[in-house]
Amino acid sequence: MNETFYQEMRRKGYSRRDFLKMCGLLTAVLGLEASFTSRIANALETKPRLPVIYLSLQECTCCAESFIRTAHPLLSELLFNMISLDYMETLQAASGLQAEEAKMKTMQDYKGHYLVVVEGSIPLNDDGIYCTIGGRSAKDILLEAAQNSVAVIAYGSCATNTCVQGAYPNPTGAVPVKNIVAHVPVIDVPGCPPIAEVIAGVIAHYLTFDRLPELTNLGRPKAFYNHRIHDNCNRRAFFDAGMFVENFDDDGAKQGWCLYKVGCKGPTTYNACAITQWNNGVSYPIKSGHPCIGCSEPGFYDNFPMYEHLAHVPITAMPFEPDKIGKWITGLTVAGVAAHGVATGVIKRLDKEPRKDEEAGK
């Protein structure tokens, strides 16, 4: 990571004396008592906290809401001891110009050493008019912030797969972060929203082990997205046993049986819900009786209806049921075969008759 402020000063030829003098000045500027000088000197001699720029683009703020719910580490620990959240519209004190200045300062002072967290997708249609901040398009803002960052975390389904606004017909031309950011690593942390401890965990992982987490083949941290919900589901035994909820609130539901037949997407959804669980381990959708809606998977809105297992025809929102189509295919085949069989019989008969005539003529 970045060298400390003190190291930088020494490298530039200043003495320790100059450094302490500067600390005294800084104390006065900040309006603090003289006793603060040593504290400031100490801070400037140690490593800076990881600067983080949190961008909110085309989103619903559920990710930010989830972020502040983290129980381990607590958000206050994260903010005071681990990271320096230099820009986050939802929480920061400054507005307007002052907010933008804070962001610019971090991008300059910590060039190549700050982390960008992005919540929201990037609407590209019509020159980006569908999401502007400070008069600038989401794409411009993202590209600028990502340029000198150490990595970009695409946080939440909007940023990883455009979530609801990207569902057919995607009217604003929303695209995920990885379509825009090319030259720095992008880590996908999907979910609508992701679990609080997951996003905090990804940041803490980077801080603690000094490297980006290993990713799955879909570009998500293995530490949280390695397994499907189905593989760790508390109702899995009932799936294997073939004991299913047929209707909500039926006897099976009152026994807590498997929700597979009411459309559960757990078997195709990679997330930590069943292990980490939500809101400090209290529950997760399946445990609370509702099927998983698959919110961390690309295009999950187009895999609805929610309470059935229907696939969709690509690039539309038209659902189809493989079994239904399959039955049609088979039905048509049987009909075709029958027709062909009848035709064969008829033609053979017609063929034979003139032959008889020929024989008779001989």
Partner: protein
């Protein structure tokens, strides 16, 4: 001095992307324009979907109001299909609604709004001993020792001393509009952190019943969380105990921290009476009795107040095409034919962006300037939200609300006219939170009593299957969101959504002006406000924050007109 245009974009500590442009002259704001700068076009996406899925789409309108849009949606679909939900489901939904009010209001007060009133850097100069004395004089909250405040102050000192101010960087510290003494500031900062830690716990009530928060799960016809007190995988005593525990913690937190802080901080600012704005207030009413469904005597009564006249309340009907209309004179949309106002039922939303191409410096506020429409009641701009609810409840003679408001005014030593201000909104939000924590407890008790009586039903099965539905039908789900009046409208044809619309609180409050230059509530509230330094917009964000803006909600209301063909330059907002 010539009129100066101040642009504040982004307005931070809100949900979504809001831009304020204000004209500053002679030390005061003389005109203001509110612009929502995002649009997601969810409406087009809703077409042809299963109405039972609708809640999951529209819930994602907003992750802050994560519960209430889903509730309005399932209510609209149930209204259309004629479903009456079981009592348990009704009680659970009410518990979840009250939970959201409490959590949302506390977050708003401490994390979104407080820094407009509290100077964090000033807290460094506080005397922990005096702070402890102050804290103990206003509340019996256990965390109020000298040691506690010393620790908090030391943490803060270390933080400021590091030179990396994080979320507090570039704040308006030292601004003359800050009036609190250092001790009050330190106490507020301590409670900022306490609230941060507490708010993550109360939402566990949503997690128990809905599986997660944000964005818990719902079900048309009831709730999916089966109740079986003799099973380990359903709602049983342990689950209910966790709910009870969180409710009790919430009651303590609101009574011991939030309300005392509100009055302590409020008493220093009671002379700052700016930010009144429009003089009309509206509430649809919510949390009505599940049998009578009468919103007039609900926990939050519905009604309209005009010209701040609390002696008269008019009835409001979201279904009435004459009462509620949306105009688009200054919004980036177009109507074919008649350009006048339209009721959501026959609303149309064709995008017509006339604003500058990004990047831009300034909007053309003489023309269209926002993605937000202008909804009106009988041609008038209406403020919605906690203040509107408390005023309507007060005027309706609701005992709980009347006692609460009168008590608060007396305690602060101010008259009713003080309510019509930024601070009035903030006060109303607190009073409402207190009402909601008490309501949480009584509703929880009602749920337990109902389960004890042998009722464990949470879902009405009879109209689940689309074959039982009418060929065409329509419904409305209206309620009160933490930020104000909310209505979702749905039309169902052949088992699919053919029209979906929502008119949400922030659309009412953040609306741009209409053709007659009748200002929206944000705009009206800013006009006349003095500013100490036009470069530091503390006064502007203070007033805007008092409304608790939620722009994601406002700027992509689900308005769909399926009669229109889809083509490249034709969107619905």
């Amino acid at each position: 001095m010539a009129v100066q245009r101040i642009v504040v974009d982004p307005i931070t500590r809100i949900e979504g992307h809001l831009r304020i442009e204000a004209d500053f002259d002679n030390g005061k704001i003389v005109n203001a324009f509110s612009s929502g700068t995002t649009f997601r076009g969810l409406e087009k996406i809703m077409e042809g979907r299963d109405p039972r899925d609708a809640w999951a789409f529209v819930q994602r309108i907003c992750g802050v109001c994560t519960h209430i849009h889903a509730i309005a949606s399932v209510q609209a679909v149930e209204d259309a299909l004629g479903i009456t939900i079981p009592k348990n489901a009704d009680l659970i939904r009410k518990i979840m609604t009250a939970t959201q009010f409490v959590q949302d209001h506390v977050i708003h007060f401490y994390h979104l709004h407080a820094l407009d009133w509290v100077d964090v850097v000033s807290a460094l100069k506080a005397d922990p001993k005096a702070t402890s004395t102050l804290a103990q004089s206003i509340s019996n909250y256990p965390k109020s020792s000298v040691g506690y405040f010393t620790d908090i102050q030391n943490t803060l000192k270390g933080f400021v001393g590091s030179g990396q101010l994080g979320i507090f960087a570039n704040g308006y510290w030292g601004h003359p509009a800050y009036k609190l003494p250092p001790e009050a500031n330190l106490m507020a900062v301590a409670h900022y952190l306490e609230a941060l830690e507490w708010q993550k716990d109360i939402v566990r009530i949503h997690t128990i019943f809905g599986g997660k928060n944000p964005h818990p799960n719902y079900l048309v016809g009831g709730m999916a969380c089966a109740i079986n007190i003799d099973n380990d995988n359903t709602i049983n005593m342990e689950r209910l105990d966790l709910v009870a525990r969180e409710i009790n913690k919430a009651i303590d937190f609101v009574n011991q921290v939030y309300i005392p802080d509100l009055f302590a901080i409020g008493s220093f600012y009671k002379d700052w009476g700016f930010g009144g704005g429009v003089t009309n207030y509206m509430s649809y009413g919510s949390l009505a009795d599940d049998k009578t469904r009468n919103t007039k005597d609900a926990v939050f009564p519905g009604g309209i107040i005009l010209n701040r006249d609390l002696s008269k309340v008019m009835d409001v009907d979201p279904r009435d095409p004459e009462q509620i209309k949306e105009v688009i004179d200054h919004s980036w949309y177009d109507y074919t034919g008649d350009k006048g106002g339209r009721h959501p039922w026959n609303g149309e939303t064709t995008v017509k962006y006339t604003g500058p191409k990004p990047p831009y410096q300034q909007l053309d506020t003489a023309g269209k300037y926002s993605w937000i429409k202008t909804p009106q009641w009988m041609g008038k701009s209406m403020e919605v939200g906690p203040l509107a609810r408390m005023l309507v409840g007060y005027a309706r003679g609701n005992d709980v609300i009347k006692t609460s408001v009168d008590g608060a005014l007396q305690k602060l030593g101010v008259g009713k006219e003080s309510l019509f201000s930024a601070l009035g909104r903030t006060l109303a939000r607190g009073l409402e939170t207190k009402i909601m924590v008490d309501y949480l407890k009584t509703t929880y008790d009602a749920l337990l009593a109902n389960i004890k009586a042998g009722d464990s039903k949470v879902f009405e099965q009879s109209k689940w299957d689309p074959s039982t539905w009418p060929k065409t039908c329509q419904g409305v789900g209206f309620t009160e969101a933490p930020r104000g009046a909310l209505a979702h409208y749905v039309k169902i044809d052949n088992g699919k959504v053919s029209l979906y619309q929502a008119v949400v609180p922030t659309t009412w409050n953040a609306a741009p002006e209409d053709q007659q230059h009748q200002k929206g509530p944000y705009e009206a509230a800013l006009i006349g406000t003095p500013m100490a330094d036009p470069q530091k917009p503390l006064e502007i964000i203070r007033i805007i924050h008092s409304f608790d803006p939620c722009i994601a909600c406002a700027a992509h209301i689900i308005d769909v007109n399926t009669g229109e063909p889809l083509n490249d330059n034709h969107f619905f907002y």
